[in-house]
Symmetry: C2
Subunit: 304 residues, 2 copies
């Protein structure tokens, strides 16, 4: 069974790891709208979280970054007066250095990502949504803010009126992305932030059109009116959406075939526009992740 | 008293630190021929050794790099299949990242170096010999080799027929370099490698001509027929020079006013072409470094 998962960072990575535990041919298409250049390094937070998680070397405590991490570079950077608002662990730096050097030498992001994944023994295909530069811009009453500035430096404090994906008009999915989508038996929308993780992926011209007539299953990132992680709930409120699986379903209207929602939201299942599997969706252990993945596959079989 | 020291890496940095302990106005002009771009970072080994040493944060065990160093990035880089022949410590990376980013933004190396030194509370001026790119190329019977490739990757094993400083014809000393030299009361040639540390400095067009008629004192990097550190002795042999303070004096002929040589070479003093102070020149402790510095200043006073 060929599964394509669309993923942002932590939640997406965890479900991807669950899917990787199942007997499926897995492709993960990852948001690159959060990518930015910092200290001269090209940083791709979502790609890295997915890569580290699938390689089994993610930092489980913080959710992002690599395990057994240290901060000697950041400590020295602070001493030297460098920009220290974005944490870059020592071990994590290796990936940023290798990627930045290869991109500067003209390699494509998809190629670099694939070779790193192969080196780490990852069986799934990890694909950036596009090899073209796309940058999520946060629209606020005080003006536009670059994504990481808003998210990390300003801790997502400025209220949001919308998002813009700079460069999206001329971006194209890499051929491997289109091919993976066209060959898919089911598409999984991971429990990632709909506005800043999955919307950029779906906004790449030609990407959404490449999704075939197969089940599209979303796992709700909202549980009991709250986001498991990150600003999803606050953003849904700010942007006038219902902070619930129903709000998520409405957001993906026209695309969605079925959902997987948490036990905490069981009573909502009946008023969702698509069938929903109700289960425990918090993904802490490997077993949790595999269970949510199996729920997705079950809904995919059931609706196909 | 205005002192300008010409320095390479470890030996130069140690004498510079000795001079910084004396009551002098100190400028250190540093070799940049060893500089190279690695993993996308601009690395300036001699500038960094001088900077770390004058800041009191050098790694005393290995002579180069910064104290309390760790290697998490290198360990991860090796795991990811990156180039691991040139060691970059975690803490050390901060300086390379800051410098690379600022140079890419159009700043000059002399400006970046000065601001880092100021940040670290260094009183002396540390100046790269030039802001223009110059690359030491090692000429061997098997062809030309980039300096760090020869020195680090090949552990200085290939025999050497000569050196070439690529870019030197169009390089110019920064105005601060020329001004420091013209204002100097004495010039100190640090006990650095004559061929690969001080020759590139003296080869920058206009730099040697800016040295005024003041005492020029060399501290011999050769003690008892051996180099304190690095390939100086082997290179002198390969290139047909006498491996002794006399060979050093001959190398700097026309420039030198006096020398400081080690007790081990006392018997050579009489046949040197310039007056020599004989003393203990190994610089392990801060006190050793200050003592050699005072010997230089004494010879400068005595010959001026």
């Amino acid at each position: 069974m060929k599964i394509v998962a669309l993923a942002g960072g932590v939640g997406g990575a965890r479900l991807a790891q669950g899917l990787a535990q199942c007997e499926v041919d897995l492709t993960v298409i990852v948001n690159t709208g959060d990518d930015f250049t910092h200290l001269g390094l090209r940083i791709c937070p979502d790609l890295d979280t997915v890569t580290y998680t699938l390689a089994g070397i993610a930092n489980r405590e913080q959710g992002w970054g690599v395990a057994d991490e240290t901060t000697a570079m950041m400590d020295q950077l602070r001493l030297l007066g460098g920009e220290d608002w974005f944490l870059l662990g020592d071990r994590d730096l290796a990936l940023h250095l290798i990627r930045s050097q290869r991109l500067a030498a003209g390699e494509r992001l998809s190629g670099v990502t694939a070779s790193i994944a192969a080196r780490l023994g990852i069986g799934a295909r990890i694909l950036p949504m596009t090899d073209d530069p796309v940058a999520t811009i946060v629209q606020t009453p005080g003006g536009e803010i670059a994504f990481q500035d808003w998210f990390v430096r300003q801790r997502a404090a400025p209220s949001v009126t919308g998002f813009r994906f700079a460069g999206i008009e001329t971006a194209r999915p890499a051929p491997v992305v289109t091919e993976a989508l066209q060959a898919a038996d089911a598409i999984i929308l991971c429990p990632s932030n709909p506005f800043i993780s999955l919307d950029p992926i779906l906004a790449v011209p030609g990407l959404r059109e490449a999704i075939p007539e197969v089940p599209v299953i979303a796992v709700s990132p909202i549980i009991g009116g709250q986001a498991v992680k990150g600003p999803a709930a606050q953003l849904m409120r700010d942007l006038g959406h219902e902070v619930s699986p129903a709000g998520i379903a409405a957001h993906y209207a026209g695309l969605l075939t079925a959902m997987v929602i948490d036990d905490a939201d069981a009573e909502l299942a009946a008023r969702l526009p698509v069938p929903a599997k109700v289960t425990q969706t918090l993904m802490k252990s490997d077993a949790d992740r595999a269970a949510v993945a199996r729920a997705c596959l079950e809904m995919a079989s059931w609706t196909s």
